[in-house]
């Protein structure tokens, strides 16, 4: 019998039962909850007259719909305030741990889980948010779910899921200086397209992945949904174990030793077979930037926007619609194009390492005239660390302001909206039409590229800074 993939091992351990020609009943170890996709699910529980089945496995934090300034004041927008208050009430009624607005552990849900040790190898983790795939960086099966599924997990700690196919994306070699985890994953998505991973769960492997920090691995797994994949994971190693060790919700004492023993077995067997395999060479990757309205529309920063003859005929209409929205034309160079806005943050690149990269790159320089920049930490812990490390001072000296944590301009649910027609270089995950505000134009990039663009005011290769 052929060996098993890491994905299959974890899935099999969590299968309560399978239904013939139907989904599996999958047991969920950690359920992360935020204010936007949960109220209707809690209302469903109430209508059935039941409470949260396993509140000790459920953790909540508001992040999507909160302001990133003046968080000590009541939320000004009444509808948003009601949504956040509804989360508080639902958590109180159901004994669910809540890191509410202003709580020292509050932040973007996918930053909060790992930094508190809630996220651990070998677990199944879900949240009503597609970027739940972030937690796969720890060697867990983590994926985003809809509100009906949130209700399933709240009421039974289980979810009905058809078993996805498996894909391996192997990246060997060394990333060039100035090329980050974000560039790596944008490169992969540009090769696979936004639908290339649909129906699959991805395992990332290879020396280029091993060499990434945990923060970098989270960035890669975070973006696996942007190729359509159900999720992405990376087998745990010493770096993973070192990261989890000592965090508040991580196992302690003898439990820790037993957990580490189990985590070390979380690898894909040498003779396991994947349904699909891709191989890439890290040396082929340069800093990436997107030019269109989905994350698969990315190029190396020194490259041009693909010409129309490289696009399949049936897709040309959609392609031109996308470029028209961006105000670009096929064949144009990306370098030197104007930039109005910079957004550093989100569950993709809002961790301490990202702020360090950005701050170090702008140190001693000045924000370009006419550029508006929002630097938004992923959590209060990240914010506190940025202050303690002196990053806030560096940023302020260069003309940048560190805001308070939240999802912010990644999806622009709050007031952090990029105006119509403006070009925003963003370290977040989606460049869809209107994603950062109606009419806004988003160019996805890593934090180093964002820094280069922030100080020049145009699309700039960070290797030339």
């Amino acid at each position: 019998m052929a060996g098993k993939t890491l994905f299959d091992k974890i899935w099999d351990m969590h299968e309560v039962k399978t239904i013939e020609d139907g989904p599996s009943v999958l047991y969920i170890d950690r359920h992360l909850v935020h204010e936007v996709t949960s109220p209707q699910a809690f209302a469903g529980l109430k209508a059935r007259g039941i409470k949260v089945f396993r509140p000790q496995n459920t953790f909540a934090t508001p992040d999507h719909n909160i302001p990133t300034i003046n968080q000590h004041l009541p939320i000004a927008d009444e509808v948003s305030r009601f949504q956040v208050d509804t989360l508080t009430k639902n958590c109180e009624d159901n004994n669910v741990t809540l890191f509410g607005l202003g709580h020292p552990k509050n932040g973007v849900v996918h930053v909060v889980g790992p930094e508190n040790g809630i996220t651990q190898p070998g677990m199944t983790i879900v949240c009503g948010d597609s970027h739940t795939s972030t937690h796969g960086a720890f060697g867990s099966i983590a994926f985003g779910i809809g509100t009906s599924e949130v209700e399933m997990v709240l009421s039974t700690q289980c979810i009905m899921q058809p078993r996805p196919k498996t894909m391996k994306i192997n990246i060997d070699g060394k990333l060039e200086e100035g090329v980050s985890a974000k560039d790596l994953v944008l490169y992969v998505i540009s090769k696979l397209t936004t639908g290339g991973g649909t129906g699959y769960f991805v395992e990332f492997s290879g020396s280029a992945i091993r060499n990434l920090s945990m923060e970098g691995r989270m960035t890669v797994c975070n973006m696996s949904i942007e190729m359509g994949a159900r999720g992405g994971l990376i087998a745990p190693d010493e770096k993973t174990i070192e990261y989890v060790k000592g965090r508040e919700y991580a196992p302690k004492g003898a439990d820790w030793d037993a957990a580490v023993e189990k985590w070390k077995a979380l690898v894909t067997d040498a003779d396991a077979e994947f349904d699909k395999v891709y191989n890439f060479d890290a040396a082929d990757i340069e800093p990436m930037i997107t030019y269109g309205t989905n994350p698969g529309m990315g190029v190396g920063i020194t490259q041009s926007i693909p010409t129309l003859d490289t696009v399949e005929e049936a897709s040309q209409k959609t392609y031109l619609k996308s470029l028209d929205y961006m105000g670009y034309a096929p064949g144009e160079k990306m370098l030197g194009k104007p930039v109005d806005w910079i957004f550093v943050g989100s569950c993709t690149n809002g961790r301490i390492e990202d702020l360090r990269v950005f701050a170090n790159a702008v140190k001693g320089k000045k924000k370009a005239e006419g550029v508006t920049a929002w630097i938004v930490p992923g959590s209060h812990q990240v914010e506190d660390q940025a202050i303690a490390e002196g990053l806030k001072d560096i940023l302020e000296e260069a003309g940048f302001e560190l805001r308070q944590p939240g999802c912010s301009a990644c999806l622009a649910m709050n007031d952090d909206k990029v105006p119509a027609g403006k070009y925003s270089v963003a370290t977040s995950n989606r460049n869809f039409e209107g994603r950062q505000g109606p009419g806004s134009r988003t160019l996805l990039a890593g934090p180093l590229t964002a820094a280069a663009c922030a100080v020049t005011g145009v699309i700039t290769d960070p290797r030339t800074l």
Binding site: G44, I145, P164, K321, A412
Partner: protein, 194 residues
């Protein structure tokens, strides 16, 4: 909680020949502040459908009176992006019972099924013929036999759906009803796991 029962449907359809329609287009994030499932249909495709002042954009298909019906036909990779079930509520709330495309994003597909909206996957060629037909053309979808027919060409294709989900839709059951019925098995799993 019972969802809409579904067996067969014949209807005209609304064509949206755009690829990679993401959930931010289906329902933009600024409409996600609600705490109920109601009213999302009014904002389906809001940024394509309305001008800034709220007036309808005449060239968008939902605002063209000749296109009607309870079936949406969209380009490949429909529903990519965010996991927001609000997208399925918006499609359902507008009155669509079926979405036809050559490719769906996984989470949107699950969310649709959980709301009694049937995603039907057809071939690229079948989809192109639906886009080519006139506004008075109709589609017939039969869930029992898992077939979809383009009335203009008379051509049919069969579509996939697992028999569990098919049963849910035909009988109006949902997954939570099922999970609640196997709670004993869930508890014994918890006790027996290592």
């Amino acid at each position: 909680m019972p969802i809409n029962k579904f067996i067969t449907l014949e209807s005209t359809y609304v064509p949206l020949p755009i690829e990679n329609v993401d959930t931010d287009q289906i329902i933009p994030a600024r409409f996600l502040k609600a705490t109920t499932k109601d009213g999302f249909g009014d904002n389906l495709f809001a940024d394509w459908r309305y001008n800034k002042d709220g007036s309808p954009k005449a060239d968008f298909v939902l605002n063209k009176p000749e296109y009607t019906g309870s079936i949406l036909v969209a380009g490949k990779n429909f529903g990519s992006g965010s996991s927001r079930e609000h997208a399925a509520w918006a499609v359902d709330g507008y009155g669509f019972k079926v979405v036809v495309s050559s490719f769906f994003a996984d989470i949107f597909r699950n969310n649709s099924l959980n709301n009694g909206v049937l995603p039907v996957i057809v071939s690229e060629a079948f989809l192109a013929e639906l886009f080519a037909a006139g506004a008075d053309n109709t589609i017939e979808v039969n869930l029992e036999t898992q077939t979809i027919t383009n009335k203009a060409t008379g051509k049919s294709e069969s579509f996939d759906i697992n028999s569990y989900k098919k049963g849910c839709l035909l009988n109006g059951f949902d997954d939570i009803d099922y999970l609640m019925s196997v709670k004993d098995e869930i508890e014994s799993y918890e006790q027996n796991r290592a």
